[in-house]
């Protein structure tokens, strides 16, 4: 049992007031370790809300530096940060919001060589990445390691997310393998309304907090999609696929795969 300081009781009072959270729930949040992969459009709101909520340890993985074109939606990075590693910029903001949070930074790409090693240190993983190869890598690594994670994707005016716990539908149950390079546009190719990143990222942050506090029903076996043009939200029930190559009855994937990264982005078009 943590002995809360006066300052902590004040800082987290709006959580503690919630019957479903209370002191016990806040304590669970403060002991939690969350890995955020990608310090971009989704990773920004996720990291900011998790820091504010008092998550004990936040790991941030990103190999990029802040670009001026990021600032339209990646609200954790400021104009002064252009050119800095995103993980460094993110760490600074997380600690400015809440100095109690321990931040681990990984200034590298997540790939088959490091994914399992990094993931094993955390209780919950948030996918805030921008490309399919890494989305499949995170899925496979989490399924192999038995870790829960939140999947998130955004494009133009749309968002899509689900939460995976061991034994529930995974990304590969829904989509067997990454689309061929260039077949499906990513944000950097097709654009995205900045606030969509906030909408989807805060859903992922809420799912993370629900996971640790045990509140309500997670988005497991359900794929939530929304279209901000109409503001219609829809959840599609999805079932674990018995023939899934990673989580099915007879998995055929035994090692992590580095799929080819999309090589084209806005700069080349």
């Amino acid at each position: 049992m943590i002995d809360f300081t006066e300052e902590q009781i004040q800082r987290y009072s709006r959580h503690i007031l919630l019957k479903d959270v209370g002191v016990e729930g806040q304590e669970k949040i403060m002991q939690a370790k969350v890995l955020v992969v990608g310090a971009g459009g989704l990773g920004a709101p996720v990291s900011l809300y998790l820091a504010a909520a008092g998550i004990g340890t936040i790991g941030v993985v990103d190999a990029d530096v802040v670009d001026l074109s990021n600032l339209q939606r990646q609200v954790i990075h400021f104009t002064k940060d252009v050119g800095r590693p995103k993980v460094e910029s993110a760490k600074e903001k997380i600690q400015a919001i809440n100095p109690e949070v321990k931040v681990n930074t990984y200034y590298e790409f997540l790939d088959s060589s490091n994914a399992l090693d990094i993931i094993k240190e955390y209780d919950f993983i948030v996918d805030g990445t921008d490309n399919f190869p890494v989305k499949f890598l995170i899925n496979d690594a989490c399924v192999m390691a038995g870790k829960p994670f939140s999947h998130g994707g955004i494009l133009r005016f749309n968002g899509q997310t689900f939460t995976h716990l061991p034994g529930t539908a995974c990304y590969r149950c829904m989509f067997k393998e990454p689309p061929p390079t260039g077949a499906v546009p990513t944000c950097s190719q097709a654009g995205v309304l900045g606030a969509i990143a906030g909408m989807l990222g805060t859903i992922q942050a809420a799912e993370t907090l629900k996971y640790f506090t045990g509140i309500g029903e997670l988005l497991t076996n359900r794929l939530l999609t929304f279209d901000a043009k109409t503001m219609l939200f829809r959840t599609v029930h999805v079932k674990q696929r018995e023939t899934c190559a990673i989580c099915g009855n007879a998995p055929t994937i035994h090692h992590l795969i580095d799929y080819e990264q999309a090589t084209c982005d806005l700069k080349n078009h």
Binding site: G38, G128, I154, L155, F175, V184, C187, S188
Partner: protein
Amino acid sequence: MAKITVNGEVQEVSLPLSLTELIKQNDVQQPDMVSVQVNDDFVDRTEWDGLQIKEGDSVDFLYFMGGGSL
């Protein structure tokens, strides 16, 4: 005419109708990229031609959505 549900919305279709034809009717973009569930079960691409739609079926098209970081 038969009533079915596609992506949560009721549609009237004339039978017989295969899943492949339904996908065509719904102007699904990049059909080779879409994941399809019929009555909450994923249907493999190889079975689309042979799957006949029935009255009351619920069909969902799931699309890839990337993006987030860059």
